[in-house]
């Protein structure tokens, strides 16, 4: 499955989910697929922490649906995150693990044990129950309604098997925002959706 095709397909299924994209190619791909600058937080340079960041949002705002994207390079740095996710078991959180079997953000450098890593099995081994493994657009279209089920009672983990970015795809635009700008765009969006006060004051 082509990385960008996969993200475009997921974007078509999105309704009002809040998104946290991770360091590397997932920020580029989500920006390319959506051009969303308010309901998506591009947590660039945060190796392995996008799902923890998303868990904090999901815990704080249980009425929101939160999606977190993370590459398998980031996942390999901190697989124990799944223990925390399983323990929290937030039904409003979906963790998409984008498995391209390389360190995509660093010119597709080699990932340890890339041939044999079975991310879905790792997740099940940590007790996660809502685990999906998707390797084609057809399968994604078939399974997305189930993985997005509104009445899910547990945290959802989705492995997306994709091809690494090509050299040309590596050149697509990064989300063109400075950190504090993103914080305020995203935070004000959450304030308007939830009525909560993220920043505690308004100018």
């Amino acid at each position: 499955m082509k990385y960008l095709d996969c993200f475009r397909a997921i974007a078509r299924h999105r309704t009002d989910e809040i998104v946290v994209a991770s360091a590397g190619n997932s920020c580029q791909a989500w920006w390319a697929a959506t051009r969303d600058s308010v309901g998506s937080f591009y947590l660039d340079a945060s190796m392995s922490l996008s799902s923890m960041f998303a868990s904090g949002i999901a815990l704080a705002q249980p009425e929101l649906k939160v999606w977190a994207f993370m590459g398998d390079g980031a996942f390999c740095m901190n697989p124990g995150m799944l223990m925390v996710e399983r323990q929290m078991n937030l039904p409003n959180l979906t963790h998409f693990l984008v498995s391209n079997r390389v360190y995509g953000a660093t010119s597709n450098a080699g990932l340890p044990n890339f041939k044999d890593n079975d991310y879905a099995a790792i997740a099940r081994g940590m007790g996660l129950e809502r685990v999906f493994a998707i390797s084609s657009i057809d399968q994604l279209e078939r399974e997305f309604p189930a993985l997005k089920a509104a009445n899910a009672k547990a945290h959802t983990f989705v492995v997306l098997e994709v091809e690494p970015f090509t050299d040309e795809e590596q050149k697509i635009e990064q989300p063109p925002f400075d950190g504090p700008e993103l914080k305020f765009r995203f935070g004000r969006h959450l304030e308007s959706k939830t009525g909560a006060s993220v920043f505690g004051y308004k100018i």
Binding site: V20, F41, L43, A45, S46, M47, S48, L49, S50, S51, M52, F53, A54, S55, G56, I57, A58, L59, A60, Q61, L64, N78, G80, M81, M83, V84, Q87, M88, G179, P180, L182, K183, F186, G187, L190, E191, T194, A196, S197, V198, G200
Partner: protein, 171 residues
């Protein structure tokens, strides 16, 4: 749990609750076990034990964006592993983080394996321009809420450092 230890733990919990902290993400250090156990058994908090200290940084930073008060609690050694996460998330995006750690390796800590923390913890905090407040006496626990509120104004991370004398009593 010793008398002073349990009293300090309860006062720390009360102080956190008073400034709106709901989520506490922790990794243990022997010195903070009474604090962790107190928070775990206190309905005012959601306590999340994490797999590594960086996860606490990510979790608390996300909670901030969701408008939930939070604190990350860890040992000095754990803090030494989170410099990347803090500089990339909390400085790059200017997201407040309230972090509490132990002042390991200082006077009163007889563990030789914490000498490195005694030598390098404060210089590392200084090197990343991260303000800190040492709390050594029960009567200073009230500084917690002042420091917490400062993180919200300052929009960056700040550390509270607890001494052994505060958490376990002098020896």
């Amino acid at each position: 749990m010793s008398g002073q230890s349990s009293d300090s733990a309860k006062r720390i919990a009360d102080e956190l609750a008073s400034c709106g902290v709901k989520l506490v993400a922790s990794l243990p250090d022997n010195w903070v076990m009474d604090v962790i156990n107190t928070i775990e058994n206190d309905d005012r908090f959601v306590h999340v034990p994490v797999n590594r200290e960086e996860s606490a940084v990510g979790l608390c930073s996300g909670a901030y964006m969701g408008a939930m008060g939070s604190a990350a609690l860890m040992g000095a050694s754990g803090f030494m592993t989170v410099v990347y996460a803090i500089t990339k998330i909390n400085y790059t995006y200017e997201i407040p983080l309230f972090l509490m750690a132990t002042l390991r390796g200082a006077v009163g800590d007889h563990h030789k394996h914490h000498i490195s923390n005694g030598l390098y913890l404060l210089p590392v905090l200084d090197a990343i321009s991260m303000p800190y407040q040492i709390i050594d006496k029960p009567e200073d626990i009230g500084l917690i809420s002042r420091c917490y509120r400062h993180t919200r104004t300052y929009a960056r991370p700040l550390a509270i450092l607890f001494t052994r004398d505060l958490l376990r009593g002098a020896h």
